[in-house]
């Protein structure tokens, strides 16, 4: 049995439009990989295929040697694959604590219980507090999420996802929309993630990618162009032309 996520020969087409072409990828515990590529390269499609929002046309997805292709989105979360959203979709009218409580309650299978207090489980409350501390959100714990600065909202999002205790964590553009002044917060939070977690980061902010990723995969037109260390990718002329060209030349 191989630990982690193995994706083999993944294809996805909408009619004649091929959006994922023979993608194979491994994510093992402790991995810090980044997926980059120009707009429309199929990055979001790929994450949706892994998390079960989309069904692939062909190919296999295995978690710890078990095929998870037939599992629903919710079942894959329970199996250990969690993803943050590209656009923050938090529970905007709820407090930060309630936002964290929900995934923790769900992980324990408690969200069907109608006759106990939501904040009444000691284990959940302890975890809420330690997550708040880890992401430096303790001071704003009782604030309604929509009143937070955008960078903090992204941290809440990451904390929520981590609350699911995933083994595979997909961060979909964790720095999107975050002002550059708050970007170090995100990098710091990613650096503080559990060591044995497998992390895949999809990101446009190259500074962030080069800071946190050990390996970078370049996706172009639905297919993997190349994979390598940040240094190799930075030196690759094809990547430079295709992706880094205009802005970073």
């Amino acid at each position: 049995m191989t630990a982690g996520l193995q994706v083999r020969g993944l294809n996805k087409a909408f009619g004649g439009l091929v959006v994922a072409r023979d993608i194979s990828l491994d994510l093992s515990p402790g991995d810090r990989k980044a997926l980059i590529g120009p707009n429309g390269a199929g990055k979001s499609t790929f994450t949706n295929l892994i998390t079960g929002i989309l069904a692939p046309t062909s190919g296999s997805i295995q978690l710890d040697g078990r095929d998870i292709g037939s599992l629903s989105e919710a079942q894959r979360v329970k199996a250990g694959i969690a993803k943050t959203f590209q656009i923050t979709t938090l529970f905007h009218s709820l407090t930060v604590r309630d936002n964290l409580r929900l995934p923790l309650l769900e992980r324990r299978g408690l969200t069907a219980r109608p006759f106990r207090r939501a904040a009444g489980d000691g284990g959940v409350e302890d975890e809420v507090e330690s997550l708040l501390q880890q992401f430096r959100l303790t001071d704003v714990g009782d604030r309604v999420v929509q009143r937070l600065a955008y960078g903090q909202q992204r941290l809440v999002e990451m904390a929520m996802t981590l609350a699911l205790r995933p083994r595979i964590l997909i961060l979909d553009e964790p720095a999107a929309g975050v002002p550059s002044s708050e970007s170090p917060l995100i990098a710091e939070a990613i650096a503080g993630l559990p060591q044995d977690l497998a992390v895949l980061i999809i990101e446009h902010d190259m500074a962030l990618v080069f800071k946190v990723a050990a390996r970078i995969i370049v996706l172009v037109a639905g297919a993997i162009l190349t994979e390598g260390t940040p240094a190799e990718i930075a030196a690759d002329p094809r990547v430079r032309d295709l992706y880094l060209g205009a802005g970073h030349g």
């Binding site: 919710a74 979360v77 993803k83 979709t89 905007h92 709820l94 929900l102 309650l105 609350a163």
Partner: protein, 313 residues
């Protein structure tokens, strides 16, 4: 402790109304029953964010079930309530199996359609339901075998208030529970709820069933207190007015449902007795004013006033 204050206020108001308006107990009982109906809507619309115009489906089914039960089986009021609630729950569960998969306008249309189908069924099976003549001949026994329903409606009122109390307490507990928090989460972002692994449709069906049970309970009380069930229990207007009352009072916190219902029905009652032809105008104006001035409903009024005062300083 602070959370007990609204309950005390509720009790005081209920008792005061009983002594201040001894000749309007029938009307007050109707208000209390409507409060229960609007509470059922608050759970599914205010908390879980499901827009529905179909609460009458469960309300009407509860009314017919309780009426038929009283005539053919047993005239005990509490047993009748249980039957009405069960009927509402069954209708909600069955229709919820497909309703909870729809959204937005489609959902609104479907909830209206379910109600109309049920109304037509009640009309067609007139041998059982009395059709357009209504289901008459409902005679209720004593509450708990002790209190007789009297002509003035004292027992009816106290009985309704007690049931309202129980409903509010139960719904308060449910809303404060992990299940209630999950419903709020679904109201905010169903996509995110799915992403944290919650079976959203299952939770919604459960919430809709509970909401249906409460609406059925309200229908059963209406049948018991008026001793008559007409096809009007399935009227679209009932669902629509319930929604207006809820929005008027403020959604998602239960107290708004109570305040909205009390204000709406009182204004309705007073305005229609002053001017039987133009009272709708007054209601319309009231709703407009509230929606514009306090979008969060009358429940948000104190906050809004505080903000205004702060700005004046």
């Amino acid at each position: 402790m602070r959370s007990l204050v609204p309950f005390v206020v509720m009790l005081v108001v209920a008792v005061a109304a009983f002594y201040l308006f001894p000749y309007n107990l029938a009307f007050l009982t109707r208000v209390v029953i409507t409060m229960i109906l609007v509470l059922s809507l608050d759970l599914i619309l205010g908390v879980a964010g499901v827009s529905t115009l179909g609460q009458a489906a469960m309300y009407g089914s509860g009314a017919y079930a309780a009426g038929l039960f009283a005539i053919h089986v047993w005239h005990d009021p509490l047993a009748g309530l249980a039957v009405g609630a069960a009927a509402g729950a069954v209708v909600a569960f069955v229709s919820g199996l497909f309703l909870t998969r729809a959204h937005g306008l489609t959902l609104l249309m479907l909830t209206i359609a379910v109600t109309e189908v049920l109304q037509e069924i009640a009309n067609k099976f007139s041998a059982i339901t009395g059709g357009t003549d209504g289901l008459g001949g409902i005679r209720m026994g004593r509450v708990l075998g002790i209190w007789k329903f009297d002509f003035v409606g004292r027992t009816g009122y106290i009985y309704a208030v007690c049931v309202l109390f129980v409903v509010v307490v139960v719904l308060k507990i449910v809303i404060g529970s992990p299940f209630g928090l999950a419903l709020r989460g679904i109201g905010d972002s169903p996509a995110r709820m799915r992403a944290i692994g919650t079976p959203v449709t299952r939770r919604l069906i459960a919430a809709y069933t509970l909401s249906g049970a409460v609406a059925g309970l309200a229908g059963a009380m209406a049948a018991q207190s008026t001793a008559l069930v007409s096809l009007g229990v399935y009227d679209f207007q009932l669902s629509a007015e319930a929604m207006i009352m809820l929005i008027l009072g403020g959604t998602g916190r239960l107290w708004g449902a109570l305040i909205g219902t009390a204000v709406f029905m009182t204004v309705h009652q007073v305005a229609s007795s002053v001017d039987p032809f133009n009272w709708l105008f007054v209601i319309g104006l009231l709703v407009l004013a509230v929606v514009y001035a306090v979008p969060r409903g009358l429940l948000g009024l104190p906050d809004e006033v505080k903000r205004l005062l702060r700005r004046l300083k």
